[in-house]
């Protein structure tokens, strides 16, 4: 009797403390993280149904090579995007050189090109049968000395060129908000400008740079399209092999779970490394820049121009050429609708993700305890799961819920689908997948807000919502823009979730790209791809200009 009472008492206390724990922002954040956690759990649930025979085969014949390949790809992309992103961000944010104003926004344009499209264009141009090597053979009789594009180096290069904008965008934001004064302080302490960069600016921008690299890493780990075009086998290849070749979705999910845990470890590792350090800005950000000497200035211009040419002008140029070839045959009256659908979905998803990321980041700021931090991290892991697997993870619980609802509501509604086939499912799935880019951009910006700014506002009687809207929101503007833009462009390019959850008739530009590429008709994919790039570019340009002011 006593034990029952004691148990009941303990339970009540537990529930009470749980209720107290889950109030306000924290509850909101928890609900937001559920959007990702549910599909994640569906994927993780597979760990309980092992298929030893398939695992044995994968372990013995498939995984060893893949792990090595994945390791090199991850390392290469991390170093490559880190180097390109940080150097270009530094140049355009802090230095003055010829063309800077154009490069500042133009360097983000590659974001709008899906990586697998860039991959195919590069292979088309640089492979043995491509125009370059063909011309070389014509002139020199052989092109044997030409480095093969379908190689580890080739994949890393193409992926770096299409993913560096993540680092660029966030690092630039960091350098812009850092304030020149911290650098001036460093110089007054006797550090050279270069030493100032390495000892002050770079460490102060670390959360941004890391977030950017982390996004690029997650994207390359979850990528299937690009590596498939190169036939470069990574961990994702094993996931798809288990699913499509060996017809074991559970083994595929298990492999995906391992990937997710790996990324979680990486993220938590960085968090503990960051520890209690704060990254507030010193002084007001300042538009005046260091003017580079003419020689250095022109070198910088050349460097930025080269990256832009390789990452953007070249693939878009090729796409345009193909576009002209197929335009007459493929363009039809449905295109405005495809564009409209793409833009509508991307905008709605961007809005939702920004709201969700704000909630999450704000809860993390208010409650910096480990459960909140852990859940915050967990809910960004959707980005590391290959899209098709995540799409299944979203679809299974939704279909289950739908089936329950249909059973209950059948007498009234006559048994049609209730949730499936609506945009709600699609948008939830997008949030689950793209919370990471949104959250990383906003959370990094949140780091810039000092405690004293907050206290001053509180002193003036602002608290709760009003504090958030009057003080935090304006300070977070840059981060919010970055978040919205990243998600907008990512959703434009997204395929597996769109394919699986779109309602009848909701075809988008990326669905068109899929239709053409799935049978290898790359030239015919150029038209939707170009439309996608153009529709994706408009927000890129608008938002960058916004961020400049």
């Amino acid at each position: 009797m006593n034990t029952v009472l004691a148990n009941r008492h303990a339970l009540t206390t537990y529930c009470l403390s749980l209720a107290r724990f889950l109030t306000g922002w924290r509850l909101a954040a928890f609900l937001v993280s559920l959007i990702t956690l549910v599909p994640l759990l569906v994927v993780l649930f597979s760990l309980f149904s092992p298929e030893p025979e398939i695992w044995d085969h994968l372990r013995q014949y498939v995984l060893p090579d893949l792990l090595i390949n994945t390791f090199w790809l991850a390392l290469g992309v991390a170093l490559g995007t880190g180097f390109l992103g940080v150097s270009l961000a530094w140049l355009t944010a802090v230095c003055e050189f010829p063309g800077r104003r154009i490069f500042a926004w133009a360097l983000m344009l590659p974001l709008a090109i899906p990586a697998y499209v860039a991959a195919f264009v590069n292979i088309g141009l640089f492979d043995f049968t491509g125009p370059l090597q063909t011309a070389l053979r014509l002139w020199f009789g052989s092109s044997a000395w030409f480095p093969p594009i379908r190689s580890r180096g080739g994949v890393i290069l193409v992926m770096t060129l299409s993913l560096y904008p993540y680092v660029y965008l966030l690092a630039r934001n960091a350098f812009m908000t850092q304030g020149k004064r911290s650098l001036e302080v460093a110089q007054s302490l006797g550090l050279s400008r270069l030493a100032g960069f390495f000892k002050v600016a770079l460490p102060m921008a670390r959360p941004w740079i890391f977030s950017g690299i982390m996004l690029a890493l997650m994207e390359s780990l979850a990528d299937f399209g690009t590596v498939a075009v190169f036939n470069y086998d990574t961990f994702t290849t094993a996931i798809y092999k288990a699913w499509f070749g060996l017809f074991s979705l559970s083994s595929a999910s298990q492999l995906a779970s391992i990937l997710v845990m790996l990324v979680l470890l990486l993220a938590l590792g960085e968090q503990s490394w960051r520890g209690a350090k704060r990254y507030h800005a010193t002084g007001k950000s300042n538009q005046s820049r260091y003017t580079l000497q003419p020689f250095l200035g022109w070198i910088s211009c050349l460097y930025a121009g080269l990256i832009l040419a390789l990452a953007f002008a070249l693939p878009v140029g090729q796409l345009l050429v193909w576009c002209v070839e197929v335009f007459a045959e493929d363009f039809d009256s449905r295109y405005p609708m495809f564009v409209l659908h793409s833009v509508l979905l991307s905008s709605m998803a961007a809005l939702l993700v920004v709201v969700a990321a704000l909630l999450l980041a704000y809860a993390l700021r208010l409650y910096n305890d480990w459960p909140t931090r852990f859940f915050g991290r967990l809910s960004t892991l959707g980005y590391a799961i290959p899209g098709s697997v995540l799409a299944v993870g979203v679809f299974i619980p939704v279909a289950w819920l739908d089936n329950q609802l249909i059973a209950i509501l059948k007498p009234w509604l006559g048994g049609g689908a209730i949730l499936r086939g609506t945009l709600t499912v699609m948008l939830l799935a997008y949030v689950a997948r793209f919370l990471a880019p949104g959250f990383n951009a906003i959370d990094s910006a949140m780091q810039r807000i000092t405690r004293s700014q907050e206290e001053a506002a509180r002193g003036m009687g602002l608290s709760g919502w009003r504090l958030f809207i009057r003080v935090h929101l304006p300070l977070l503007r840059g981060g919010i823009f970055s978040a919205a833009m990243l998600v907008f462009v990512d959703v434009m390019k997204e395929m597996p979730i769109t394919l699986m959850t779109r309602p009848f008739g909701w075809d988008t530009l990326s669905v068109r790209v899929f239709e053409m590429t799935s049978e290898g008709q790359w030239e015919r994919a150029a038209l939707p791809a170009v439309a996608l790039v153009i529709a994706g570019l408009i927000p890129v340009i608008l938002l960058t200009r916004q961020a400049e002011h």
Partner: protein, 337 residues
């Protein structure tokens, strides 16, 4: 989200009203999940709608996700029909209990036995032949004989292949396993790998171009890729070779369809399926994508007929599904990437 709710509620109410008002006059509808590309399937649907007035609603995706979708939706699925490419995928769908048997004298008459499921759960609708292609400046047709022969060391450094991840190669390997057993097939695949001139390709078209450019001399591809490529670049020095004519014949695969287990409009789906096997639709199949008609009474497109007649391997394409897992594992063991 808040904004969405009233709009959606309105739409919902409106559509509910529309349905109840129009339910008497409503046109018949068939819902299709298709792993066959939109541009290759929509013209067929349009023709059907024009002829019969039956509306067809469809979504496209890859086979794997479509099957998971059917599984998750279970009895509440809106889909009446599943269309996929490759017999292996159709076999999987049947094996996972997603399809139902169809009793139809029309289908039995139009589709040969080796191109449909023995239990009539799915029917091949177009035939895709996977055969050998060679550089006509470097080789003569008499140099070639069979898929198996390409494992011979005489082809060292002269062979191009597409990746083993593509289901077409998995099916081809499955057929070889059925004919020769695993041990011998593994020897054959290892021989292919040893003969490769360059890394395997991600798609058939690029591989055919490599043959034309002289990077290699011979390779295996589906005929319609060849057809599409030659239409664009007719001067390329690539020729078709019908493989294994002195043995069992060219490996063929199908794209096909079945009626889903929980189809709401079973009768409508069956009518559509029967129509897809009829000469009108079969002609469209071959015109749209240069595939061969599954219905032997229908003549292929003249472009295809120009490639000459060939003997098909009459083994039931169902085998591709049964042996697909074994084939994938075998190719992994043989180091075929």
């Amino acid at each position: 989200m808040k904004l969405m709710t009233p709009i959606k509620a309105g739409l919902f109410a409106a559509s509910a009203a529309a349905i109840s008002l129009a339910s008497f006059a409503q046109a018949e509808e068939v819902v299709v999940y298709s792993a066959r590309n939109e541009q290759l399937i929509k013209p067929l649907f349009d023709a059907y709608t024009k002829q019969t007035g039956v509306q067809i609603k469809f979504v496209t995706d890859k086979e794997g996700p479509l099957m998971e979708r059917l599984k998750a939706e279970a009895a509440n699925t809106p889909a009446d029909m599943l269309i996929t490419v490759d017999a292996g995928n159709l076999w999987q769908a049947a094996n996972q209990g997603l399809l139902q048997p169809v009793v139809s004298t029309t289908l039995n008459a139009n589709i040969p036995a080796h191109l449909r499921d023995p239990k009539n759960q799915w029917f091949g609708l177009s035939v895709r032949a996977r055969t050998i292609f060679f550089n006509s400046q470097k080789l003569k047709a008499t140099d070639l004989s069979s898929y198996e022969d390409l494992a011979d060391p005489k082809w060292k450094g002269k062979l191009c292949l597409r990746t083993s991840k593509k289901v077409y190669n998995q099916s081809l390997t499955a057929m070889l396993i059925d004919e020769h057993g695993e041990a011998k097939t593994e020897q054959i695949i290892k021989g292919w790998v040893a003969n490769l001139a360059t890394d395997v390709f991600a798609d058939d078209t690029k591989m055919l171009e490599a043959i034309a450019a002289g990077q290699c001399e011979v390779g295996i591809a589906n005929t319609y890729y060849y057809g599409r490529l030659m239409e664009k670049k007719p001067t390329l020095p690539i020729s078709i070779f019908w493989a294994n004519q002195n043995a069992k014949g060219v490996h063929v695969n199908v794209s096909g369809a079945g009626i889903t287990k929980y189809a709401k409009n079973r009768a409508g789906a069956q009518k559509l399926l029967e129509w897809l096997s009829s000469d009108k639709a079969q002609n469209l199949f071959t015109d749209l994508d240069m595939e061969y008609p599954a219905n032997p009474a229908v003549k292929a497109d003249p472009k295809l007929l120009a490639w000459g007649p060939f003997k098909q391997n009459l083994i039931n394409v169902n085998k591709a599904g049964e042996l697909q897992t074994a084939a994938v594992k075998l190719m992994d063991r043989a180091g075929y990437k």
